[in-house]
């Protein structure tokens, strides 16, 4: 079953709305979530937040119904504001996992961008070094999608560099990434501007931190 999940990244403020094939796992640790279930390739979603468990929840289809199952007894999954170990979910339901609020849409009723019927497109990132969206409209025969569940992880080498592509808090590049909107690159002069107003705002943030630190000399 294909569903669309919609949430906003709490760190960057960026909205995500991938359309995915079940089973779908949600958690903090990509490696900690299973890659395959009953011969089906799993769509793994990483939610970077300390309150999210390594492998937090599973969304799967059972007898035509969509189920969400909490995978960690120490973690809480709220379904429409109610904490349940497992529950069926329907179109439009809201899941609260850690600090993330995720809305579930069945693809037939998913929000349309253009007002016309949107054709399903695979949103997996392909490319080993340079991520690019797959964009296939049919997963049949695709070595990266669900066409061949026995296909090994073609990009297994990413495990050599587990932080690859991650610029979240605590990872290399976070300072730049979190302020990416303030950077302005002029290809004519080759200069990178970090605007004055934004530099001031960063300075002010630092000042506030200092004021709050009563132990500071």
């Amino acid at each position: 079953m294909q569903i669309q999940l919609v949430w906003t990244d709490i760190t960057t403020g960026k909205q995500f709305n991938p359309t995915l094939e079940t089973p779908i796992t949600l958690g903090k640790n990509f490696q900690g979530m299973p890659a395959e279930m009953s011969g089906k390739r799993v769509s793994r979603i990483v939610l970077s937040d300390p309150t999210v468990a390594g492998y937090h929840a599973l969304i799967d289809e059972s007898q035509g119904e969509l189920l969400v199952i909490n995978q960690n007894p120490n973690a809480t999954t709220l379904i429409n504001g109610v904490s349940l170990p497992s529950s069926t979910i329907v179109d439009g339901d809201r899941l609260q996992i850690g600090a993330f609020e995720i809305q579930v849409f069945l693809t037939a009723t998913a929000p349309q961008n253009s007002g016309n019927t949107t054709q399903w497109k695979c949103d997996r990132n392909l490319g080993f070094l340079i991520p690019k969206p797959c964009g296939r409209t049919d997963p049949t025969g695709c070595p990266h999608c669900h066409g061949n569940p026995n296909q090994p992880d073609v990009y297994y080498e990413r495990s050599y560099y587990p932080d690859y592509g991650n610029y979240n808090r605590g990872y290399w590049g976070h300072n730049y990434y979190s302020q990416r909107d303030y950077y302005s690159y002029n290809s004519n002069t080759g200069n990178v501007d970090f605007t004055e107003a934004d530099a001031n705002s960063v300075a002010m943030e630092n000042d506030t931190d200092y004021e709050l630190d009563m132990g500071a000399s």
Binding site: G173, Y185, S187
Partner: protein, 296 residues
């Protein structure tokens, strides 16, 4: 297949500029040649061992026959001994002939894996330029320096540099990459005088490790904001435990990194492949962020 195996046998150098698929096919041919040579070498070495045993047995029987005055038998063993000596020489010549093509497996295996890895991010019709050298690392033409031994008088040290791999290509984002692997070896040699006064020639070769040199020329329009990351790029570089980052230089349009693989793992295909892959991943961890910052 673009490889001419007869030509390859002469210099043990594979050089081409073609698609990744063709390169992998060619390297597979080289691997087949290598495997076949290995088997043949083993076979003739085994024959040489048998002929050696036969020589020993014939010699013993010849002596025994002589002691007991069985002259005709002694003659037969002498002839059999001569035939075994000829057989031994033939087997050793054959083993040495095939040994020339018993190549360093890790080199062609790593080259093939790297080509497959980089081709994932290249256009389908892209070509890759490869030069793979499979000759001995201590060939005369690879000698770069000879110096006297610092404390053993009469001894010298030859330093060899074997640039055994060069791979060049262009990724889908128009970034050119150029990767080289250079193995350094040193041979210490000279005449040593023993206590009894005899002089003996001694020679010992040691690997000093392999340097991986990766240069990326990126399009400034796409990645120009990399200038803002200057000074922090080194922190994005992650390499396997024993591999050391020797040099990292960031220019306006390019990034150059040199990593050193120590001698104990310099001939291990997994270690080399992992180091190369991590160099590419580290570089793109920087470039992908630079791309985000370069967007207006």
């Amino acid at each position: 297949m673009t490889i001419n195996l007869d030509l390859f046998r002469q210099h043990l150098i594979y050089e081409t500029n073609t698609s990744a698929e063709m390169i992998c096919q060619d390297i597979k041919e080289i691997a087949n040649l290598d495997r076949e040579s290995e088997l043949q070498k083993q076979k003739y070495n085994r024959y040489a061992k048998y002929f050696g045993i036969a020589i020993g047995v014939c010699f013993l029987l010849f002596l025994v026959s002589g002691i007991f005055d069985f002259i005709p038998l002694a003659g037969i063993f002498m002839i059999a001994g001569f035939i075994s000596i000829i057989g031994l020489i033939w087997a050793l010549i054959q083993a040495s002939k095939h040994g020339k093509f018993d190549l360093a497996n890790y080199r062609h295996q790593v080259a093939s894996e790297i080509v497959k890895m980089v081709s994932r991010d290249m256009p389908l019709d892209a070509t890759i330029s490869v030069r793979l050298v499979l000759s001995l690392p201590t060939q005369k033409n690879k000698l770069v320096e000879t110096i006297p031994h610092p404390y053993q008088s009469g001894f010298k040290i030859d330093t060899f540099q074997d640039e055994w791999l060069k791979i060049r290509g262009t990724f889908t984002d128009n970034t050119d990459f150029y990767l080289t692997a250079t193995e350094t070896s040193q041979t210490k040699y000279g005449w040593k005088r023993s206590r009894s006064g005899k002089s003996k020639y001694k020679s010992k070769t040691k690997s000093k490790g392999t340097d991986l040199d990766l240069t990326m020329h990126y399009p400034v329009k796409k990645y120009g904001a990399i200038q803002a990351l200057r000074g922090d790029v080194v922190n994005a570089f992650k390499l396997p435990e024993k591999v050391v980052l020797k040099k990292l230089k960031q220019g306006e349009k390019n990034l150059n990194a040199i990593a050193h693989i120590p001698s104990e793992i310099a001939n291990d295909k997994f270690s080399i492949y992992q180091a190369v892959t991590m160099m590419f991943l580290s570089t793109y961890q920087v470039l992908n962020l630079a791309k985000v910052l370069s967007k207006k």
